[in-house]
Symmetry: C2
Subunit: 227 residues, 2 copies
Amino acid sequence: MQDNLQVNMDEFLPLRDVVFNTLRQAILTGELKPGERLMEIHLANRLGVSRTPIREAIRKLELEGLVIMIPRRGAEVAKITEKSLQDVLEVRRALDALSVELACERISEEELIQLKNACDEFEKATHTKDPKKIAKADVELHDIIVKATGNSRLVQMVNNLSEQMYRYRFEYIKDASKHQRLIDEHRVIYESIRNKDKTTASETAKLHIDNQETSVMEQIHSERKIK
Amino acid sequence: MQDNLQVNMDEFLPLRDVVFNTLRQAILTGELKPGERLMEIHLANRLGVSRTPIREAIRKLELEGLVIMIPRRGAEVAKITEKSLQDVLEVRRALDALSVELACERISEEELIQLKNACDEFEKATHTKDPKKIAKADVELHDIIVKATGNSRLVQMVNNLSEQMYRYRFEYIKDASKHQRLIDEHRVIYESIRNKDKTTASETAKLHIDNQETSVMEQIHSERKIK
DNA sequence: AATACAATCCGTGTATACAAAATACACAAA
DNA sequence: TTTGTGTATTTTGTATACACGGATTGTATT
């Protein structure tokens, strides 16, 4: 772990939440690596707080599945296995399909316009070749869809599942050869939501995840070879 | 809150986990009522521990959605609204459908026998008219199905969603007039999983949840009238 | 009687202290 | 060299102390 781990004091939140967000971000971006131990005093010193907020943040990360607790030994960053990624994607597939179906029923005119814009913005973002911008545009687009379901529980669960994929999705989105396909799929999803065509919408959403799965799995296998 | 809230010292777990389980149980059974404040010192005295394990347990309950935090005021038991129940059931419906579909593909011979037994046990339990036994048999049956998917993430998420319904499901299952229908639906689900008939399995699973939804909503409305 | 204001109390947020367990290490014996 | 044991150190688990903010109550003034 490098020393660029730093609390963001801009936000006016209890320290435990600041620590929680900081650690989560560090885990999701890979700054804290799977298997790495999270030692309370070290983290406390590094972040300039006491152990209490650290411990409370770890309790939340534990429930979120990002760290695992070993009794009397403390916390370590959860190891991501191929199986666990497949499990996540399998659930995500079902929930994304549900999201677009519900969106067909419930999306407002305004949200539909937002979605159209988000599709355009995503296409523009791919032209910049800046992975951060592309990822951001992609997140925003999918956010509009789940939010359009009006189901806050669904929003929460889909977000949590996406998080688990963060690192891999980032690599995925860098691959320019896949961009056109993503753009097209986004368009199909937009069109079918507009036409209230649940079947096409959900099939395309599933396809969208399947592509991601294939790509992520390829990536993991190539990573393994490098090691 | 009465004083029958008590830590279970049988288990050899960190106090925070004991407290977490105790509080969760108390919330799910309605012993701690929605809107009730969770004051750390009171809970600490009542459970005979210090504030630290209480606070850590609350952090987990917070992430699980069972309590909500009000800044500088502390935690209170989350209020369950009709909307939030519908949201939960909407997601649960999709995940139960996914579960039976995956079970069609992946269930082992042994699990299939267990499932058959669970159906029989459920029917027997309804004859006892003991709601606790019926609820237990029902949980076991559905547990076999999700476990048969081999997707641990799915197991975790379905369990979490079921929890939110605990109180209402319990009332639902007491209603003897609904028993035959439940027995039949369980049988259809079992049969269709055995025959690898995904369509029937998933349709029945969805129906199963729809019935539950109708019943729970009736219950909430009648509760409201009583008040 | 109503409102404004101050003193007080209560509870959370954070830090620290203490106890117990686990780990690491050194040194001795086979 | 390997194995075993005892001690020191590290780290977690739990309790407590302290400070700050918000709420409440009581009092004075209008």
